[in-house]
């Protein structure tokens, strides 16, 4: 394989190591622990202490870390304190809904954002531009829960077109699967599109005045092609970057949306395991999320070079 790729993949190791240490520290600084959560609302400090001992949570922190990391190196991410499944199973089972949702939301966001951003850039200063920018401002400033609730009330409750919340896996049939995802995907997509729209507009503005646009126009390239092919590709690096970021954000936890729509995804897993102090799961998920980001950013970086051949990420 290529040296650059190898280097990037090897770089994952120190990143994971550092992240795991940091997370471990953070988790253990944070008050509350799984014992107190298991025991419920009215447990006493003594009860909690007893359970802590039984669970091995009273060991010195470096020892706990060593125990954990040796397991991880053996490929075992550990067991949840709460779920009857291993951490890797938990991640896997929560990944499916999140992936479906993320992909759908991303598609929606792009379908909204790219054309709108381009329109705004082309019609800069006109009413169309201002309308588009107005909407994207709404998207930026409105908390996602408001849009989600609005959609639920309108489409789910008033019109009763789609279920308000919940999730069905793909095995339940495509439509059954999608039906639950459309609303959350739309609400996420719409919000995410705000940033992409603005980024598209401003990056497009940077390139529209370039000479090569003039030259392409002089060849008789149709306006659409001119924009979508010649300009967009040149303007695409920052756009791609935010797409990568939003996608990363979607895959690793659209917490609010998942909560409102009751989607048992990675976001829920993260927030719930933080709320339950499910240490092993938190650690596992964070490692997983790190891999996701490293991977997405790797792809984005490779795409940089494909999109713009001038970009070089390594020395020759």
């Amino acid at each position: 394989m290529n040296l650059y790729l190898v280097k990037r993949i090897l770089a994952l190791i120190p990143v994971l190591f550092v992240v795991s240490v940091v997370i471990f520290l953070i988790i253990h600084i944070t008050p509350g622990d799984p014992a107190s959560v298991i025991l419920g609302e009215s447990a006493t400090a003594q009860d909690v202490e007893a359970l802590r001992q039984q669970l091995g949570l009273d060991l010195p922190i470096y020892q706990q870390y060593m125990n954990w990391i040796t397991d991880v190196l053996r490929g075992d991410l550990g067991e949840s304190y709460f779920m009857k499944e291993s951490v890797s199973e938990a991640i896997f089972s929560h990944l499916q809904p999140t992936l479906s949702l993320a992909i759908l939301a991303q598609i929606i966001a792009l379908l909204i954002a790219i054309p709108l951003g381009i329109t705004a850039a082309l019609r800069r200063g006109t009413a169309a531009d201002q309308t588009v920018m107005g909407f994207s401002l709404l998207g930026m400033a409105i908390p996602s829960f408001l849009l989600a609730l609005f959609l639920i009330l309108l489409v789910g409750v008033k019109l009763q077109w789609l279920p308000v919340a919940g999730y069905k896996p793909l095995e339940a049939g495509l439509w059954n699967h999608l039906k639950y995802l459309i609303l959350p995907a739309v609400s996420l997509g719409a919000i995410q599109s705000a940033l992409i729209t603005r980024m598209t507009r401003s990056s497009m503005l940077e390139v529209l005045n370039m000479n090569y646009m003039k030259a392409a126009r002089s060849k008789g390239v149709k306006e659409r092609q001119l924009i979508y092919k010649h300009a967009l590709r040149n303007a695409f690096l920052p756009i791609l970057t935010v797409i990568g970021q939003t996608f990363g954000g979607l895959v690793t936890g659209a917490v609010v949306t998942e909560t409102i729509f009751n989607i048992p995804g990675i976001g829920q897993l993260i927030i719930n395991s933080v709320e339950r102090r499910d240490y092993e799961v938190i650690q596992g998920v964070v490692l997983f999320v790190t891999c996701v980001y490293v991977f997405i950013n790797l792809i984005v970086d490779i795409l940089y070079g494909v999109i713009d051949p001038r970009v070089r990420l390594e020395r020759k």
């Binding site: 005045n209 000479n211 090569y212 392409a216 002089s218 060849k219 008789g220 010649h230 040149n234």
Partner: protein, 337 residues
Amino acid sequence: MTKPPLLEVNELKVHFYTERGRITAVDGISFHVNAGEIVGVVGESGCGKSVTSQAILRLLDEKDTVEYDGKILFEGTDLLQLPEAGMQKIRGNEISMIFQDPLSSLNPVFSIGSQIAESLMLHQQISKKAAFEKAIELLRMTGIPAPEKRVHEYPHQLSGGMRQRAMIAMTLACQPKLLIADEPTTALDVTIQAQILDLMLELNREQGMGMIFITHDLGVVAELCSRVVVMYLGQIVEEADVETLFAQPRHPYTKGLMKSIPQMDSDRSQKLHVIEGMVPTLDNIPTGCRFAPRCPYADYMCHERPPAYEEHAAGHKVRCWHAEKIAQEEEERSYVS
């Protein structure tokens, strides 16, 4: 001439809105190009050649900063009145253009092959594969070595001359009725320049392609063009066929130009001839004749009143109060030599 000319530019003015206000970069120029004719445009750097040529294709940023006046008739239709969609049909198809600045005019993110192929596919119904093959062929015609490899390269990987040739290949792909070439051979060595000029002449002869050829190289003008337009500070100051112009320039600026050319057989230790003084800026245009401040012939009238653009001999138009006098001088000179 009963048939209308291929292109007729009539009192074209181009105004730019800059932060310092409105400036008129091209100020009422008129000329025409007949089908199958090569018209050379020469002139001071910054006199408006590129602006004129881009105005013909309406490529300047109309929405924001540019305003046009006058008429540009292409086969009888006024391009300035055409809607953008109509313009799109003309660009590339009927009129195409080689830009002066090859690097910034090539899209950095597409290989030159795909840029040429794009032109081809726009104007001919051919497949992508065929287009690429044709692109290779065109690159070969312009003298790029190993074109089958070069098609996949990106503009930044090419030398200045190769970029220019890629631009040329791209325009030739369109097989337009009118080609506007804005200094197309500046970055080419003379052997390749010769090859390219031959290529253009061939197209001109075989397909009757009209051409506006902007250049500073009077040698090229002499070899290629049939008629020449001389511009100075946004105006046309002289127009004539090549022989006449080179033999009997009637405008002092043209005369100065001729004298400034470094000759292959000149004395190297001599300083080159220069036209004294500076070109005025566009927001500070002299009243009277625009060339007057630098003109050895200038008199009171020149400074006061702008000369008219008049036909002095058949097909020889000049904008100068002293055109006749200069013509006489030139005649005498040619007798002497």
